[in-house]
Symmetry: C2
């Protein structure tokens, strides 16, 4: 079986190559042009296509099954990789320096689909700045261990929230437009929570390949993660279909947030 350190080496190989192709077109109009339709049913932008082609070219040299936005499920092996080659495509197309490649590695153990609970390595890399987050048994940013904040009070909370539908009383609300990186901001204690309560067809808007790596990093940094109704995410599968809502925060704040969000509006 692949080790976390092998997964790290592969992640860096992929990220370096993707950063090179993306940096050539980030912020240029062509980056945001539609070049086809993705397997997820949304249009594929040129920057996504370039990044994904580059990532898959490298990953096909390894025994992995890749689950990805544009191409669906590709490859064979005993490890599944949830890949988002460019999380934050909108930002990348406009040169706003908050977009990342995200990869989560999980053991298949003879099954044809991995679940989030099978994850053993998460990797998120800001393609604009080069900031690197990953987690094996511990979580790191640029090689230094990271930890969630200890903020407990709602009025002191710096929240990432998709989308505010009323005033929850947070100190600050931010929406940067790249979930994988935003969850890493929670993992490192820069922001106190990440919340996505968008319902999108009743199931939520987030997909496994958007957030699995960030979630794995956040958990290893001390975060608690669940849906807003408190559902555990362990059984979420690395498939195109899974969609969910999400709350990520330190353990004490997490409980308060679930209460806050379920109060009848």
């Amino acid at each position: 079986m692949m080790t976390p350190s092998e997964a790290l080496r592969i992640s860096r190989e992929v990220s370096k190559a993707v950063r090179e192709v993306v940096s050539d077109i980030a912020g240029k109009k062509e980056a945001g042009e539609n070049v086809g339709m993705g397997k997820d049913g949304t249009p594929t932008k040129r920057v996504d296509r370039l990044a994904e082609d580059t990532a898959l070219e490298i990953l096909k040299g390894y025994d992995v099954v890749v689950v990805t936005e544009e191409s669906g499920v590709v490859g064979k092996g005993d490890v599944a990789v949830a890949l988002d080659p460019v999380d934050g495509t909108f930002n990348a197309a406009r040169g706003i320096p908050i977009y990342a490649i995200s990869m989560c590695f999980a053991g298949l153990n003879g099954r044809d689909k991995a679940k989030y609970s099978d994850s053993f390595f998460g990797y998120v890399y800001n393609l604009a700045t080069g900031d690197e987050y990953y987690a094996d048994d511990e979580a790191y940013k640029n090689g230094e261990k990271i930890r969630v904040s200890e903020t407990e009070r709602i009025e002191e909370t710096n929240a990432i929230l998709y989308y505010p539908d009323r005033d929850y009383g947070f100190k600050r609300v931010r929406i940067f437009g790249a979930a994988s990186l935003e969850i890493c901001l929670v993992a490192e204690g820069s922001m106190d929570c990440f919340i996505d309560i968008r319902t999108g067809k009743g199931k939520g808007m987030l997909r496994v390949y958007d957030v699995a790596a960030g979630l794995y990093i956040a958990e290893k940094a001390g975060a608690r993660i669940s849906t807003p109704s408190g559902e555990n995410l362990d059984s979420k599968e690395f498939t195109m279909e899974e969609r969910f809502m999400l709350v990520v925060a330190n353990k004490k704040l997490h409980g308060k947030l679930l209460n806050l969000l379920t109060v009848r509006r």
Copy 2:
């Protein structure tokens, strides 16, 4: 009288020096430590103090009156400069690459206070990335002319909105935490509007030195600017006291937004 090209030269001299001192501590814990109380009545962070000291040291070599967050009104001359040495302090302290120095130059014409309508040059510089926005008679990003978007439909609008209190039907909502840069994103057409409807003691939250430069750039790029009730901003003074709410967008969208925001909730 100072010319726009002299203002540009001074702005670049100041920004270069500020970027050097800020890059040493951005993303480090000490950047966000309180080091005193600003003239605006809020705590001064170390990164603000360092940046402002550096900017004022240079600006005192010129005949300008500087209006600024931490030090208040300093200097003498026939030109007023609304200075925010670090707009987006929260981001700077956390290494989130969206923070800027903002300078708006206005003629005093013998009076002791400048109004927004006296402005003749606006300058906003992302201290993390080096992206430079300015306007004299035209608006530029990194030397290229910029223009607001032509988006007219609310459901196609990418909005910056402080803060959402309900679902307005925008395509996307973003909150990056640096108003000067966010207004420049509207000026360049990357985002379609900037809205701040926070009431803060009934007057609004934005101050002249936060946004004057961005507003001047946005207007020269074709934006219409006003308060949410449609009030013109020309008479807003470069003082510590002025506070207001704001709507910035292309002319057609701007009118629709004023309607949308005044619909009874």
